[in-house]
């Protein structure tokens, strides 16, 4: 859609709070409550589109950065205002411990999260590539005017895009609470990595993003092990620079 959401990390933070409160108030484990988080976040994404994005869509790219950045500050402070600055953890999640994958230990929560994320990826890809709505969405992303001429309700498509995007964040955030703490500022570190990952794969290409995610994860882990943990993000960013030097549109970018 050619819009970068600087409040992405804050969406993630809200999703984590949803999962946390579901656990705190109703004893719903994140494994169970993630659809709820996805729904809430999708609603938020939809509302964000209608409340804010629609109005800045016609403006320059910078106005969009500006608006979503303001939203990020707003959401972060709203979280502090409402829930305080305490660090919360979903203690004793349903899934704990480790699984051994061919001699390599992987935390069970992480494994579950990976599988669920993979599932979300596949679902998203199938939706975009196979369903009529998904194709309409892609068409809108590629050329708004042309899509409108073809009779696609681009307005609805944009809102849908925001809802789906935020919904995916909802899934990720909820699953993340299984092994990560929650607090109002939690989103920032993830959002930056997400931004780089997507660009590394190339905007507008779901399978490429998945591949880029795996690469970023591997590079981060290897750099931490072999070079120095303090420089692991620097290595990830260096990788990005290297890749775009070679392919200015990311690995498989279309635009």
């Amino acid at each position: 859609m050619e819009i970068v959401n600087f409040a992405h990390g804050e969406f993630l933070m809200l999703a984590m709070y949803v999962a946390f409160f579901a656990w705190l108030l109703a004893r719903l484990d994140p494994v169970v409550s993630f659809p709820l988080a996805a729904l809430v976040l999708a609603g938020l994404g939809w509302a964000t589109y209608h409340g804010i994005i629609r109005w800045v869509l016609g403006g320059p790219m910078l106005a969009q950065i500006f608006a979503t950045f303001g939203l990020a500050v707003f959401l972060r402070s709203a979280a502090q205002f409402l829930w305080g600055v305490d660090f919360r953890v979903v203690s004793a999640p349903l899934l704990g411990g480790r699984a051994s994958l061919g001699g390599v230990f992987v935390g069970l929560p992480q494994l579950t999260a990976s599988v669920a994320a993979l599932g979300a990826f596949v679902a998203l890809h199938l939706f975009l590539a196979r369903s009529e709505t998904g194709l309409a969405l892609q068409a809108t992303a590629q050329d708004r005017q042309a899509a409108a001429l073809m009779g696609i309700d681009t307005e609805r498509m944009f809102a849908l895009g925001w809802a789906i995007g935020a919904g995916c964040v909802g899934v990720a955030g909820a699953l993340l609470t299984m092994f990560f703490y929650v607090f109002p500022d939690v989103g920032a570190a993830f959002a930056l990595l997400a931004y780089v990952t997507v660009a590394l794969g190339g905007f507008g290409n779901v399978p490429a993003t998945l591949l880029a995610g795996v690469i970023v994860g591997l590079v981060e882990a290897l750099a931490g092990l072999l070079i120095a943990p303090a420089l692991k993000y620097a290595v990830v960013f260096l990788l990005y620079l290297g890749v775009v030097l070679w392919r200015p549109q990311g690995l498989f970018g279309r635009f």
Binding site: F87, V89, G97, R98, Y181, G224, P229, A230, Y233
Partner: protein
């Protein structure tokens, strides 16, 4: 266009005018105004928010509306040295940014006319704010910053009641020595992991020096990016090197993530010796305290001795009522800092900065009047409290107990820490 610019020029001018306007002066009695610049928003907001109740308690003691039945506090009741002058606190927010700390200190001194500052929690902010106090000649009491360099700058107006990293780290190595003797175990190798800002790198520097001095081998020496999204690589390095003692220096986000990561990767350190902060924060204890069983940390505050030390218990009762949780290291140190300042002002008998400074220099508060387990509060020529004493605590069953010095210990050390697979 031009009119717009002209119109916009009015905005800062208007703001400057209102901010520069003198405050309504209290006519009836003299006031003691104390400025407190703390992180009240941003990633470290919790520090400021948890400290706020102790400042209010301190002010109420001084204003005579709160009774703490111990001689030192009775003497301060109603500030008799200034004939009942009222203490007014101004709490401001520096968001843990050094430049905002500087601006706030300056604003508090020049606009709000504070007579003294208690500031700033984070070492990097204390670094800039104390320069301002030095320039204006305003007493500056620091109660929490642990970077040793702060009191090595030859400042006249900076007083630090808190121990710094050298004190804190010394106690760890004293403990290693005594513990080996007592239990007949061998400790040879250390693994350091530390976050990469001022706090972590200072702590690691001292740990490295002391390790060399006492002949320990540092087998892991890892800085990691603060507030990282993953600590898998760090824990894997530790697991591979398997040092006798793992010594983490972390703020609370990372401390919590470390616990989860060690569990997920089945890393079983025999001994964990943490550098306070993250590993002792109330959220850490509340949320992952049971999983972090056996973690030891240096601490300046013995909360398990609360019941044994009536003075600490009395302050904690007041604190718990306001904050909804028990007092812990940071608010306890903040309380000690502001009370030290109030005592000096009371003895000075005036709000004249030079008189307060002289009184601070002459400070001598006996240990039995403190909620900390320190020997006393007396400042050396650099403004550092030399009566500090750090202790070692260990998490046992989800609560921290004092385990060292052995003569005030409430529990025995659990060693080695049970492996993850042996826990329920």
């Amino acid at each position: 266009m031009i009119r717009l610019i002209a119109a916009l020029f009015v905005l800062p001018v208007a703001l400057a005018t209102t901010l520069a306007a003198p405050l309504p002066a209290s006519a009836q009695s003299q006031e003691i105004v104390i400025g407190l610049a703390y992180p009240m928003s941003g990633p470290n907001a919790q520090a400021g928010i948890d400290d706020k109740p102790v400042f209010e308690i301190a002010a109420e003691i001084a204003n005579g509306t709160l009774d703490l039945p111990f001689p030192f506090y009775q003497r301060l009741k109603g500030m008799p040295g200034l004939k009942g002058a009222k203490v007014r606190l101004i709490i401001s927010d520096h968001q843990t940014k050094p430049e905002l700390g500087q601006a706030e200190a300056e604003r508090l001194i020049t606009q709000e006319k504070v007579h003294a500052l208690v500031c700033c929690w984070a070492s990097s902010v204390t670094a800039t704010a104390s320069q301002v106090a030095e320039r204006y000649g305003i007493p500056f009491v620091n109660a929490e910053s642990s970077s040793p360099g702060l009191t090595a700058r030859g400042f006249k107006w900076l007083f630090r009641t808190s121990p710094h990293d050298e004190h804190f780290t010394q106690v760890m190595f004293d403990f290693f020595r005594d513990f080996q003797k007592r239990r007949g175990v061998k400790i040879r190798t250390l693994g350091l992991t530390y976050e990469d800002t001022l706090f972590g790198s200072d702590s690691a520097r001292v740990q490295r020096e002391l390790a060399r001095k006492y002949g320990y081998e540092v087998v892991v020496d890892l800085a990691y990016r603060q507030r990282t999204t993953s600590l898998q690589a760090e824990v894997q390095r530790l697991k591979a090197a398997n040092p006798d003692v793992w010594m983490p220096t972390s703020y609370q986000q990372d401390a919590m993530l470390f616990v989860r990561t060690t569990r997920d990767l089945d890393y079983n350190p025999r001994m964990i010796m943490a550098q306070d902060s993250g590993h002792i924060s109330s959220d850490f204890v509340k949320e992952v305290g049971r999983e972090a069983e056996g973690t030891m940390t240096r601490s300046p505050f013995a909360d398990d001795l609360l019941d044994k030390r009536p003075i600490a218990k009395a302050v904690n009762d007041l604190y718990a009522k306001r904050a909804g949780k028990n007092i812990y290291d940071l608010p306890a140190r903040a309380f000690t800092g502001i009370m030290t300042l109030l005592d000096a002002i009371n003895r000075a008998g005036t709000t004249d900065p030079e008189a307060i400074r002289k009184a601070l220099v002459a400070t001598n508060i006996p240990g039995d009047q403190l909620i900390m387990t320190w020997d006393h509060i007396r400042f050396d020529a650099t403004g550092q409290n030399i009566g500090v004493r750090a202790i070692i605590q260990q998490l046992q069953g989800g609560k921290y107990y004092t385990v060292y010095p052995f003569e005030i210990a409430t529990r025995d050390v659990i060693y080695p820490i049970p492996a993850w697979k042996d826990r329920k």
